[in-house]
Symmetry: C2
Subunit: 205 residues, 2 copies
């Protein structure tokens, strides 16, 4: 998605070898018009898949998820990271390891909002090691829901999450896949939809 890649190149800041800061438009300050365009793109990529719910994890996934849900005309669930008096006691839950924060956290979804009748689309801001998507997959599994796939805003192609999830047979669509990045000179290079090209070549054989 060119608009997104341009924004990453103009505003992204590389820290060390693994951190890409995009908090000017994605996960602290948010650019609503770009988020809307991202929602339109995900809805187009996953059109006609019978999706009944969009799912994400609070907080940074909420904005792209809600615009996707708006376009698809379905509700959006955000899994909660913290226990609260306001959450139902009957929940699906999964442990998620966080490399960013260190340690594990538990994500919870009320059983009231997800069932075997649902087909879900996962949306998240980042895909790096894939642990958040594994957690959402576990929750969908507990509910017996079908999984249409995952829409990711930015995938760190140099980490193993993308292949981990794709190798499970889950369709993953990332709007920008970072091949390499370096703090020195803040260089960011993208993969040029390598997976799609490979797939097309195989079909042509």
């Amino acid at each position: 998605m060119d608009l997104l890649k341009q924004k990453i190149l103009s505003e992204g800041r590389v820290i060390g070898t693994e951190i890409l800061k995009v908090d000017s438009f994605l996960n602290h300050q948010v650019d609503p018009a770009l988020m809307k365009a991202i929602g339109v793109e995900f809805a187009s990529l996953f059109a006609n898949q019978g999706i009944t719910k969009v799912m994400t994890i609070e907080s940074s996934g909420i904005t792209p998820a809600v615009f996707t849900g708006l376009e698809l005309g379905v509700p959006v669930i955000f899994a909660k990271k913290t226990a609260s008096r306001n959450l139902d006691t009957e929940t699906y839950h999964a442990a998620v390891h966080s490399f960013t924060r260190g340690g594990e956290y538990i994500i919870r979804v009320s059983k009231r909002y997800l069932s075997a009748d649902d087909t879900v689309l996962f949306i998240d801001d980042f895909l790096a090691r894939g642990r958040a998507l594994l957690g959402l997959l576990e929750i969908a599994g507990q509910a017996g829901a079908k999984v249409a796939g995952a829409g990711v805003v930015i995938e760190k192609g140099f980490q193993d999450g993308g292949s981990l999830i794709r190798n499970m047979g889950i369709r993953v669509e990332s709007l920008a896949i970072i091949k390499d990045m370096s703090e020195e000179g803040s260089v960011i290079t993208f993969e040029e939809e390598t997976k799609q090209v490979t797939h097309m070549e195989e079909e042509e054989k």
Copy 2:
């Protein structure tokens, strides 16, 4: 806002005397079309106020805030509740007491995204004791930003947050103000825009 009040009456669940569960459409599962309508309403209420940023606190305020920002054509900042490697070290911060969760938490906004040149609109899902808005006011004050007011989806009119914030001279617009609620029979009654009526009567004198 009638659409919202109808949704509260049809899907809200009253627990005890103080908890209104609206997690089917506002703060766990989200109805994107309703959230969009809420954003349009806030943008209309606060039109022509020179607003440059919409601010909220993660997570439940994000959805109404981002649709408000989309309509106003300005960025949305969500204050972070948790420290993270991904947040700048230079932040404005404030302590917020939570009656829902018990205890205090710290909210943080990167100094990069808020300054004395900004005029901010706060958006939140609930106004009860007003502590979240006090935290946002403190952060705006640290930045020297002007405050256009606060847009609240649901105000618990029987708690003191609304008068606390209004008595500070802050304009607060709540789309639904709950006057009374009771778990017995799940009765919810709304204030019928008492403040506006009073204000009009004064003008007519």
